[in-house]
Amino acid sequence: MGKEKNESVIESSLKRKYKLQAKDVNVFYDDFQAIKGISMDIKANSVTAFIGPSGCGKSTFLRLFNRMNDYVDGFRMEGKIFIDDQNINKKKINVEQLRKQVGMVFQKPNPFPKSIFENVAYGLKIQGIKDKTFLQERVESSLKQVALWDEVKDNLNKSALTLSGGQQQRLCIARTLAVEPSVILMDEPTSALDPLSTAKIEELIHELKNKYTIVIVTHNMQQAGRISDYTAFFYIGEIIEFDKTNKIFTNPEKKQTENYITGRFG
């Protein structure tokens, strides 16, 4: 039943203009203010890049959308985050359900120390799905989506840790896709990978855009320019500029943005 509801939410969201919205968000770690009054609207089926120097709050902001900051000691948030017009910080929101809808890929590839199959099936298994054929089909389709199927189809029972870094990261993306989220958050997904693997992931992001809303944190300016539709420039907890990527990279409104993009600081 929960799944049907989830699907109807995904469908109706396609008609909506904004998939993710933040309204006047402040984040504190004890006394330190990490996010200072950010509001932002992110369109469905787009790729949005967060750029900015280290410690500017991009990762913290990203993790608000699947509430991964909840476990951080001293974390406190003000303001509102909406996904499909639903406030995700309300008490009755089920965090586990939310995270099935909003997947996340991390900076360092972090496959579970289990087999390739078990990695991809994990999200479904924890939902209580035991149907073997269903699991096999979903694992196959997820691995195909990330173009990993041909490389691993004969070794599904091998440990995921035997894969290369780039393969591991694609596996982590497949693991996220297997539960059919509508949003994928990526926290510097290619910073630990070689250029070839990076190119593969970027190509993948480009394809995934058709079905998912993607938000990606990156330190790589060229990457932001290559793959994103929108770019937000963060600086010390604030958004300095948020616009179409084209505009940000060719004709930014603010001097600070231009300085950062051209490498004059940061």
Binding site: E96, P113, Y122
Partner: protein, 284 residues
Amino acid sequence: MNNIRKNRLKDQAFKVWGIACTLLGLILLLIFLGNIFMDGIQRINWSFLMNLPSRSPEKAGIYTALMGSLWVLSLSTIFALPVGIAAAIYLEEYGKKNKLASILEVNISNLAGVPSIIYGLLGLEVFVRIMEMGASVMAGSLTLGLLILPIVIVSTREAIKAVPKSIRDASFAMGASKWQTVYLQVLPASFGGILTGVILAVSRAVGETAPLIVIGALAYVPFAPLTPMDQFSVLPIQIFNWITRPQPGFVENAAAAIIILLFITFVMNGIAVYFRNKWQKKLK
């Protein structure tokens, strides 16, 4: 130039000192083992393992004490394991890291260092007298269970801590609950470490004598315990009893019993090392 030579000399000196210290421990242990083996090895045979205690050293066996040790060993593990692991999981994964937590942490570590005879007094008062279990296997097992509980908690926490945070993050981000993350990711990944700690704790329990003497475990029991409420003896008490006898035959018996006790401990440590290596390989 001079400085470099000085440093090199110090380096060499420490190396020699280190080797000497290592050898000291090893040689003493070897002498002790050699001694015990010379005295006891010819006494070890099937009837020594299967015979009941007796007044004449040639007929005496360790059956009752061995059975008592195995009973106490298994029961105290059954008590301490679930409680200790659950407590460790709570402290590591669920409990907030605040002042109360650090006070708890220090005190659990302290408990691991409390002299075992104190646990014996606790067991005597609570299990033997208040709960009226008498000097039974149950009372002894609960006492030893309490004794090894802090060790189980501390070692389990260390094993859980060694699981990388990225695995927890991945699990939570997939929509797993805390319990699912612990049960499906953290525990399997730390299983080797937990097992090692548990086996070391249990090895310690095998050798404990003082608390069991305090709660009233007997040196002479005519029969092996059949239920947890029976009276019992354990190997260390049997050994102690034999050593105090004047007849040379009993000294041989004691040496033989020591070999059996050492064998049990070595086997358990071996299992611990085996599993640790196996799991470490699997994690890589």
